[in-house]
């Protein structure tokens, strides 16, 4: 009796849930898939959803793209999975970013290096930013850099990642552009940009090296001052007043691209049909809206051109890592 009742409850719930997520579980073998090498809700999830929603809204795929999560090893688990198990899956793309390139450069992905996979392209980009509190003494990057040269150990930098992470790279490259060894910095590693921003607002650290898009909500509040954007050119919209580091005489760029790779043995047909698909997507006006809603700036680099871009980036990170004695 009681069990019957319990089963009836269960089936009721199942029915309800089934109606809600109708179609969500129809993971057919010929439909496309995007692996987000992280837990739901993070940047990689966003990257996968950008492709999934974009491709569906523009009609470039017939069936909804399946997004699966494969967290672990800052992306290494997914990288090994694609290189070991699903080497030639023509329907599978994996989300990646500048952070993945940094980890590849440092050898954190184990036996596989950056040349193993087929880099597909990037659909959007965010840029690093150098941020101080509104009541900090520095009005521009020059003033900060002057003080930093005098006493690098007096100014605490903070960001959302460990030594060797892409967040740390922003601080390290900034220091290097003022001829200061990244090892002489004072740097505090937080768990995510949010915590680092909170520490800046509470005056626990003096400089936060974050990303432009995560600062959007803070810009009008008058609590922070963005000394420099680490982009090639000034951004428009709410960011129009932020000068780039380059125009202040410091050669620091930090694009955080959001893109995808495919397995190493995917054939050229499949690879180039994806390249075309993404290229077409990046040109549609609907997609521009989606991209902006996720706080990303335009970036269109696909196929072999993108592959070269990633390899160059990895080589650049490797030389920096060797310089400061980070490589393993």
């Amino acid at each position: 009796m009681k069990i019957n009742k319990a089963f009836r409850h269960c089936s009721g719930l199942a029915l309800l849930g089934g109606m809600l997520v109708a179609g969500g579980a129809q993971a057919q073998s010929d439909s496309t898939e995007c692996i987000a090498p992280a837990k739901p809700g993070g940047g990689y999830d966003l990257t996968c959803r950008l492709a999934a929603n974009g491709l569906q809204e523009t009609g470039l795929i017939d069936q909804p793209m399946v997004v699966t999560y494969m967290p672990g090893g800052i992306g290494a688990v997914a990288y090994n999975h694609v290189n070991g198990v699903r080497k030639d899956d023509p329907n599978l793309i994996v989300a990646a970013s500048t952070g993945a390139a940094v980890n590849l450069a440092l050898g954190k992905f184990g036996q596989y290096d950056a040349t193993e996979v087929r880099w597909l392209g990037a659909l959007g980009v965010d840029y690093g930013a150098i941020v101080v509190s509104a009541d900090a003494p520095w009005q521009n990057l020059d003033e900060l850099m002057d003080d930093l040269r005098d006493s690098p150990g007096e100014i605490a930098f903070g960001a959302g990642g460990t030594i060797g992470s892409q967040d740390w790279m922003k601080a390290a490259l900034t220091a290097k552009s003022a001829d200061i060894s990244p090892r002489d910095l004072r740097y505090v590693a937080f768990e995510g940009g949010g915590e680092a921003l909170a520490a800046l607002l509470g005056d626990h650290i003096q400089v936060f090296t974050g990303d432009l898009s995560e600062l959007k909500s803070q810009l009008g509040s008058g609590k922070i001052r963005v000394l420099a954007a680490l982009s090639e050119e000034r951004m428009d919209g709410p960011y129009a007043d932020i000068p780039t580091a380059a125009e202040q005489g410091y050669d620091v760029h930090w694009p955080i691209w959001r893109g995808y790779y495919m397995g190493p043995e995917v054939d050229d047909d499949a690879y180039f049909s994806w390249v075309n698909r993404l290229t077409e997507l990046s040109e549609s006006p609907q997609f521009a809206e989606l991209r902006e809603a996720r706080g990303l700036f335009p970036m269109s680099s696909f196929g072999p051109e993108f592959d070269r871009y990633v390899q160059d980036q990895v080589a650049q990170f490797q030389s920096l890592a060797e310089e400061v004695g980070l490589s393993q």
């Binding site: 089963f7 269960c10 199942a14 089934g18 997520v21 969500g24 579980a25 400061v324 980070l326």
Partner: protein, 149 residues
Amino acid sequence: MKLAADRVLGLCLIGLAAFVAVQAARLHVPFSYDPVGPKAFPLILAILLAALSLVLVLKPGSNGHWPDRSLAVKLLAVLAALLVYALLFTRLGFVATTLLTTVALARAFAAPWGKALLTGVLMAVGSYYVFTAGLGISLPSGDWLRPLL
């Protein structure tokens, strides 16, 4: 010294502490911005653990009730069932392995064969649909079973 369970545990934990300390000492740290570094904390913990375990070795508590041989066999059988569940989980798929495990566990808890089989079928198929269709969790379906579902 009589062989008390706490003593065995204490000795094992001292071994663990030694292992932890050796591993920590062998860490290669390129550089660190804080004077503590990644080694100090595990080393302190290892020392703490060793000291506390020594207390356990010297002053063991009561021995507790340990399972007799027939119960130990049953416990190991249940563990083995769970291990097999894990080993075959992705290979045979969720439904098949869950059916096997449910029947095995139900039998271990003294269910008659008929009831165990019925529970197994209902739970395996039911939970598969609740999790995949209802809660949107993707589970290994086992490729060989796909045409049947």
